[in-house]
């Protein structure tokens, strides 16, 4: 594969990690939504690029799904949910931005260490991609853990899943990628619908504001 292909793929994957950091940085919901849209956009581009350089046409489908579903439908839907349910726009954090950033750095470093030492067999592109993908996954998980708002947690989960798609598309000639991305889109749809149905305003932890402090499990 030519140098330029490699560099572009590298650039896209790297910028995906960068956007994950941006997501960690946000403290307004709307802004977060926009950043996530960008995240999905970049992913779509990266997938398309992979489709191009691996000349695997079915990946274009994945790219299309990502673009329409994640970059447009979901953000809009979430936007409306926020308005409808009157979720207030502040993002409650468990740890401050700074700490989250530092943790994120650590995670990226960790994924680099783990991956780059790992895959000396595989071609460099895949190696880089995997490393970036792993960091995106970890950052997404970090976001789910450190944010209290339902919406931002959903977004965290979705960016996690973006990392997966990145990895899947990076894995050259991997079958079932499309199916998997479809399956995941369904999953996310479930989550979003769930949020809407169960009227989860603030957090995952409970199903309805009124029952936040009610009997949970076996609490006495």
């Amino acid at each position: 594969m030519s140098r330029i292909d490699f560099d572009i793929a590298h650039l896209l994957a790297g910028s995906l990690v960068l956007i994950s950091f941006l997501e960690l940085y946000q403290d307004r919901l709307y802004a977060l939504l926009n950043v996530f849209a960008a995240h999905a956009l970049v992913l779509a581009a990266s997938v398309a690029w992979q489709a191009f350089i691996q000349d695997a046409p079915h990946l274009y489908v994945t790219a299309a799904i990502t673009l329409t579903f994640k970059a447009i439908v979901i953000p809009v839907a979430l936007h409306r949910i926020i308005v409808r349910l009157g979720i207030h726009r502040e993002i409650e954090k468990v740890v401050g931005v700074g700490a989250a950033m530092l943790a994120g750095m650590g995670l990226v470093a960790l994924s680099m260490v783990v991956m780059l030492r790992v895959t000396h067999g595989a071609d460099p592109l895949a190696r880089e991609d995997l490393a970036f993908a792993l960091s995106v996954v970890l950052l997404g998980l970090l976001m789910m853990v450190t944010r209290r708002n339902a919406v931002s947690q959903v977004i965290g989960f979705m960016s996690l899943e973006n990392g997966l798609v990145l990895a899947a598309t990076g894995a050259k000639g991997m079958p079932l990628v499309v199916e998997i991305s479809v399956a995941f889109s369904i999953l996310i749809a479930f989550i979003v619908i769930g949020i809407f149905l169960f009227r989860i305003r603030e957090r995952f932890d409970t199903v309805d504001v009124q029952v936040i402090d009610r009997f949970r499990g076996e609490r006495r």
Binding site: V94, L107, L110, S111, V113, V114, R117, L138, L141, L142, M144, V145, R148, Q153, R203, F204, D205, R216, G217, E218, R219
Partner: protein, 669 residues
């Protein structure tokens, strides 16, 4: 052949259990189950006896059951034959007793199936010849007896007793599991035959022995693993209590003997130190606990602990002699222990039957509410007296013989080279003597308060003699106690094959000795003739009676008892169990049980009664078990918070797990 019969009997008992389930509440079920188990046990008893006396070679048999590639191995050798006899004798008498006693059972469907299964379990334990079959039967035995303990589930303390019992039993089984895992080795040689052949290293054998001591000991009730015993044994119906106390503990002893003398390989001298130390402590603690009780059945249960201690003293001595190349002394000690196993199974069953008879007659287990039963139930009173005399090791009854033999074994132990034993054995001897004396004291208390004196409650006043089946069973056992006492030689000789099989030596044959006396080592050294002593006492006693009645007066006047100037004293003024034990409590209890007495004496003119409150603490429970319970509770409370985390917190658990594992990878390679 004999083995086949025994196995068939066990199978029949299991079938009987099913029958018990099916018949359930029907009125005939009691008669059917107990009658059938009586017959089956008798058959199996004969098989065992034939094998032991026939002194035939061990027979073994493998069935395609249990662990598939292993099969279920069974073996009947001298040792298992002897214990089979003990089990079946107990089973026979218990079934006979229960033919009458069982009629009073309110919920027979909760007793009958488990009773038969329990007997089957015990039989299978002594026949098993591989680790799986052994532990399977062992735990099955525990489980069925547990079901019998909780056969009256509305009584909270029974349920608690069952709980403690089951937990301790599982603990014991798991310990034995370790022992066998050790002996079986990594490639799983589970059959006892393979273990015999294996000859484990000294350290490994020692570990196995200690594990077996803990595992089997917890079932037998050695201190400090005895806590379940005084709870569980009394809770069961009396004939089952008799089986648990008189027989099941012996099956546990069997387990220990099997491992210690056969499977653990050649003994090292210091093994016996562990055993002897534990045994000595068990003996005295058991009897001291018993002295503090006023619940008749619990008192008996604690005496089981004491007698188990005596048995383990014998076993420990035998191990010591065996390790130091003194096979004949070892044979003596082992025979003493085994004879005591037999004796204890006799009189402990008898005494529990007696307590059962009292229970049915009065509905009371608490001695403080009894008294004067000798007038109401003379026959029961008589046989129980025999039992008490036997367990107190009074000549010419059987208890004395085995303790006498144990003393003889102790007297041989200066020959032991190792200093540790030289120091330990005399102490153990002293403990044994002490416990013998205390046991006598304890049974004076038990019998005197229960049967003698004046009835303390209307219930005791209304008591009536128990039914004929129960009496038959008790008289049978009492007669056996006497027979073993006056003809011990016969039984000692019968035990010869066992010691020959385990140690390679036996006691000198006793049948030849003059006047049927027993001579453990040499006539010049020591001898005892129960028969002659018995005849002498009979002779002199009757002689005196005859002479006095003939030559002097035989007139008799009834008059009120000497009241020291306070007429018509109420029965409440009699000595109670607690007050009887008071001197001994002050001597021993103050530092063992931290016993404290508080006297609340009202000033003159104050009409309220004076009060004496006695506070007794159980050191072993307080020091060993209570902390454990508290600790587990605390940990459970701590961890329980994890049930109530939020989803985000659970997610962070996952996240942390992931990060940690990745870090491990990053660092590891």
């Amino acid at each position: 052949m004999t083995l086949t019969i025994a196995l068939v009997c066990a199978a029949a008992l299991l079938a009987l259990a099913v029958v018990g389930v099916i018949m359930g509440r029907s009125p005939a079920s009691t008669r059917v189950v107990y009658g059938a188990s009586l017959i089956i046990a008798a058959v199996s008893f004969i098989a065992g006896l034939a094998h032991l006396l026939g002194a035939t070679a061990p027979v073994s048999l493998t069935l395609p059951l249990g662990v598939p590639w292993l099969g279920a191995h069974f073996r009947l050798d001298a040792l298992s034959a002897f214990f089979l006899i003990v089990v079946d004798l107990g089973a026979m008498s218990a079934s006979l007793f229960a033919l009458g006693y069982g009629e009073h059972e309110t919920a027979p469907q909760r007793v009958l199936p488990f009773y038969a299964a329990f007997l089957a379990g015990m039989t299978l334990v002594v026949l098993a010849d591989d680790a799986y079959t052994f532990l399977f039967s062992w735990e099955f035995m525990s489980l069925t007896s547990w079901a019998l303990v909780v056969s009256h589930p509305r009584i909270a303390e029974n349920v608690r007793a069952g709980y403690v019992y089951l937990v301790m039993a599982s603990f014991g089984t798991l310990t034995l599991l370790f022992a066998f895992g050790l002996l079986a080795g990594p490639d799983g040689l589970y059959t006892f035959a393979q273990m015999r052949a294996a000859h484990p290293s000294a350290a490994l054998g020692a570990l196995a022995l200690i594990l077996a001591l803990i595992g089997a000991g917890s079932k037998a009730g050695i201190v400090p693993l005895h806590v379940w015993l005084p709870l569980a044994h009394p809770a069961a119906p009396s004939h089952v209590s008799a089986l648990m106390s008189g027989v099941m503990t012996k099956v546990a002893v069997y387990g220990f003997v099997r491992v210690a003398f056969e499977l653990a390989g050649p003994p090292a001298w210091w093994w016996s130190i562990v055993v002897l130390a534990v045994a000595g402590a068990t003996t005295v603690m058991g009897v001291l606990y018993a002295l503090m009780q006023h619940d008749l059945k619990r008192l008996l249960a604690y005496h089981t602990v004491e007698n188990i201690g005596i048995i383990f003293i014998g076993l420990g001595l035998s191990l010591a002699f065996n390790a130091n190349g003194l096979p004949f002394a070892a044979a003596l000690a082992l025979t003493a222990a085994l004879l005591h196993v037999f004796n204890h199974s006799l009189f402990k069953s008898l005494l529990f039957f007696g307590s059962g008879a009292v229970l049915t007659a009065t509905g009371e287990r608490d001695m403080e509410h009894l008294g004067g039963l000798i007038h109401r139930m003379p026959q029961t009173a008589f046989v129980v007296l025999v039992g008490c005399a036997a367990i107190s090791a009074l000549p010419p009854l059987n208890g004395f013989v085995s303790e006498w033999l144990t003393f003889q074994a102790i007297l041989l132990s200066p020959q032991l080279p190792s200093w540790g034993l030289k120091l330990l054995v005399p102490g153990v001897g002293a403990l044994l003597a002490l416990s013998a004396a205390l046991a006598a004291a304890c049974f004076v208390k038990a019998y005197g308060v229960t049967f003698l004196g004046r009835p303390r409650t209307p219930a005791a006043e209304r008591a009536s003699e128990t039914d004929r089946f129960s009496l038959a069973a008790m008289f049978f056992l009492a007669a056996l106690c006497l027979v073993v006492g006056i003809l011990p030689g016969v039984f000692i000789d019968a035990l010869a094959p066992v010691s020959t099989a385990l140690i390679g030596a036996r006691m000198p044959p006793q049948i030849g000795a003059q006047w049927l006396s027993i001579v453990p080592i040499a006539a010049s050294r020591s001898s005892y003739d129960g028969l002659l002593v018995f005849l002498f006492m009979l002779l002199t006693g009757t002689l005196a009676a005859f002479a006095i009645h003939r030559l002097a007066s035989d007139r008799l006047r009834r008059a009120p008892a000497w009241d020291c100037g306070y007429p018509d004293l109420s029965p409440a003024t009699q000595y109670t169990a607690m007050s009887f034990a008071q001197p001994i409590r002050r001597v021993f209890g103050t530092f063992v049980f931290r016993a404290r007495e508080q006297v609340d004496m009202p000033p003159p003119g104050d009409m309220r009664p004076a009060r004496l409150t006695v506070r007794i603490t159980d050191p072993i429970w307080d020091l060993l078990y209570a902390p454990l319970v508290v600790g587990i509770g605390a940990v459970a409370d701590r961890l329980n918070r994890l049930q109530f985390l939020t989803i985000r917190q659970f997610l962070s658990l996952v996240f942390c797990a992931l990060v940690i594992l990745l870090l491990v990878l990053a660092i590891w390679s």
